[in-house]
């Protein structure tokens, strides 16, 4: 799939999003629940800010010494018989992975959830050489069955679908004949996927954190599919972004704790699995061969820049779960496998501004994301940095486009003008309409359709967020 999930224009995607009332209802409910659970588990600690400070410090130290810790990690992996491949690009990574698979003469691949394999479009590469690649995370499996519908959230990928839609997908694709009760749907997935787990010759996983001191990789999951994928197949391939590393098990403790609490409001997920190389001699289950592929794919460009803190991200989605813009436009509007605030910051860094220059404007700069982030990435400030860079770059582009950008930025970044912007639309959007955007409503008008953004009077995000139910925003 790659990072890009759509060829439509940004505003067309947004329009689709805000007109999809089911999706919006689902997103509103999901955000409410996820955010509620997170608040509960973080508040009961009593010193959440200390945890955030520590987590931030750990991530910063690790990134500052990334070459050192990666070297220590691969030393330990290879000393214990594991194989390591460093891939600068998606193509290099896919070439290595397909060569391992070919070497094993494998046809059946079982995967557990991994954003980075999405990012490099690995499934496509494996399918091209004739492999049957099965996603085993329930949400991912649903999307895969539904003709590869793109994910809309990094933790709950099928968030935009309701249970009836899922039942229909199962019915059409797998002759499912039971109800839309989530328990029945999940049980069906269990039965169907068991066969795939047992048949798979190769298991492919992502990696939440690699531990440098022992050469271990860890997987944080609830369903048990990652354990299945690393217990039954004879070969295991783990694919990780190069920044996904911690120095020792002690720091792992902190980051896993932050991830579980921030992502799903659990103290720990049902399974935290630490895997070190292949199985030991005499062991019965577990892979005989272990490979880890460490991916750059644009990440090193971010190191040493004002955006470096983006690499602190532990992919918990807490920023997505509090974002008022995500709430209104949904995940697909971002056109990237990484949606929400982190997506708006990260996607243009990995893919460039050409396709994603609007993303940094898809924010009200309310700072809720920054407040929510367990590793203290200053997300809203980074969005402003992006905007500055875009305006600078826009100096080279056409006048009309520049104006479009400005009018849009103006309305979005400046709450005081937001209302005026929408009222006085003609003077602001006039040049844009004439300037050749042509089709669809102009950006300002479009954003005014997203009712109920934080009041331009400077009402704090919290107040707005807490008061939103009273305003009838449940629907």
């Amino acid at each position: 799939m790659g990072i890009k999930t759509s060829n439509e224009k940004f505003f067309d995607r947004v329009e689709k999003g805000i007109n999809d009332s089911f999706m919006r209802k689902a997103v509103v409910e999901a955000q409410g629940r996820l955010e509620g659970r997170k608040t509960q588990t973080t508040e009961e600690l009593g010193n959440w800010e200390d945890w955030r400070d520590l987590a931030e410090e750990i991530r910063q130290h690790t990134l500052e010494n990334l070459d050192y810790y990666l070297e220590q990690f691969v030393e330990n992996v290879s000393n214990q018989g594991g194989h390591v491949f460093f891939a600068e690009t998606a193509e290099e990574a896919n070439e290595y992975i397909t060569s391992v698979v070919k070497d094993k003469k494998a046809k059946n691949i079982i995967k557990s959830k991994s954003m980075v394999t999405e990012e490099i479009g690995m499934n496509g590469a494996l399918e091209e050489i004739g492999c049957n690649v099965v996603e085993s995370d329930l949400g991912e499996w649903i999307l895969q069955l539904d003709d590869h519908d793109p994910p809309s959230h990094i933790v709950v990928p099928a968030l935009h679908k309701n249970k009836e839609q899922i039942r229909d997908t199962f019915k059409v694709k797998r002759q499912y004949d039971k109800s839309s009760d989530p328990t029945e749907l999940a049980l069906f997935a269990r039965e169907q996927l068991r066969k795939d787990f047992l048949a798979a010759e190769v298991g492919i996983t992502g990696c939440n954190f690699a531990v440098a001191e022992s050469g271990s990789i860890t997987l944080v999951t609830n369903e048990g599919n990652a354990r299945m994928s690393t217990t039954l197949p004879k070969t295991q391939i783990t694919v990780m972004g190069m920044e996904r590393i911690v120095p020792t098990w002690k720091e792992l403790d902190i980051l896993v704790s932050m991830l579980c609490r921030s992502a799903v409001g659990q103290k720990l997920t049902s399974y935290i699995t630490g895997l070190t190389a292949a199985k030991e001699e005499g062991d019965v289950d577990g892979p005989e061969e272990f490979h880890v592929v460490i991916i750059d794919n644009g990440r090193s460009k971010i190191l040493g820049t004002k955006f470096q803190s983006t690499l602190q991200c532990i992919r918990c989605a807490a920023c997505i779960n509090v974002c008022p813009v995500y709430r209104h436009v949904g995940g697909h509007s971002y056109g990237s496998i990484y949606p929400g605030p982190i997506g708006a910051v990260l996607t243009p860094l990995l893919e460039g501004y050409d396709d994603y220059k609007e993303l940094p404007y898809a924010s009200t700069l309310c700072a809720a994301c920054t407040e929510a982030c367990p590793v203290k990435i200053p997300l809203h400030e980074l969005l402003i940095e992006h905007r500055k860079d875009i305006v600078e770059e826009a100096g080279k582009t056409s006048f009309a486009e520049k104006l479009a950008m400005k009018g849009y930025a103006f309305a979005m970044s400046n709450p005081g003008v937001y209302r005026i912007g929408s009222k006085a639309a003609p003077s602001v959007i006039g040049p844009i309409a004439k300037g050749g955007e042509g089709k669809g409503p102009g950006p300002v008008k479009l954003w005014t359709q997203i009712r109920d953004l934080p009041e331009p009077t400077g009402e704090s995000f919290r107040k707005w967020f807490e008061g939103r139910d009273k305003k009838g925003d449940k629907s």
Binding site: A30, L34, G46, N47, D50, L54, E64, D67, Y68, L70, E71, V74, V77, S78, Q80, G81, H83, V84, F85, E88, E92, L138, V156, P182, L185, A186, R194, F197, E213, S214, G215, S216, G224, N225, R227, T231, M242, T248, W249, K250, L252, D253, S257, K267, T269, S270, Y271, I272, G274, T276, K279, E280, G282, D283, V284, D285, D296, S300, L303, G304
Partner: protein
Amino acid sequence: MTKGTVQNKDKFLNKIAKRLGRERRNSGVKLPEWAKLPQYEVFKDFSQDELMEQFINHCKNIHTSVKVTKKESLKETFHEAISDLGGKSIVYWNDDRFRYYGLTDALYEARAHHNIDVHCWNPQLGEENVKVAEKANIGITFADISLAESGTVVLFSNADKGRSVSLLPRTYLAIIPKSTLVPRMTQATEKIHKMASDLGRMPSCINFISGPSNSADIELRLVVGVHGPVQAIYIVIEDE
């Protein structure tokens, strides 16, 4: 052990160093003294009894029932748990603690009197173990470490302690001597950290298990029981 292959390392790491605006670092990096250490505040100075209370409390949130018993009545409690989980067939670790606590006998009785298939994980039998585990109704293991905060059992795998036992059967039963309880993940990872520096070779698989498998991928509604066990019971031995 033959060393594994490593490809493209130097080019990759040199680039990172260059981006960071300095020479490659191969040595001399020390972990800083972290300014804050909130993890040690959790259940600080709690007694084993207090930890047990926290553990039991939290298990309510993770859909896991806990049976507390003394060593002398362990056998009965064990039989009760097996029947709660539906009996039929059992796979368990080849672990001395089963013998030490008299559970091997209890399992013989289950086989003799209740017609339950009982299989002890046996590395000599190879793949056969996995096939049995896949068909089994109950998988039973001891906890190597237990975490009060999250209702977690920590399992270290090895040849006699297969990964499949806590994963493939339909249900899972963990036996937890109270002495294995620590406040939270912090104390467990500290032990593992010591293993990593002392041993060199880690157990190839370490699992932190908190209750049965579950998912909220459909409309964020919690479903208990997906690919791993659909039900879990813990037995805590309170005088051990």
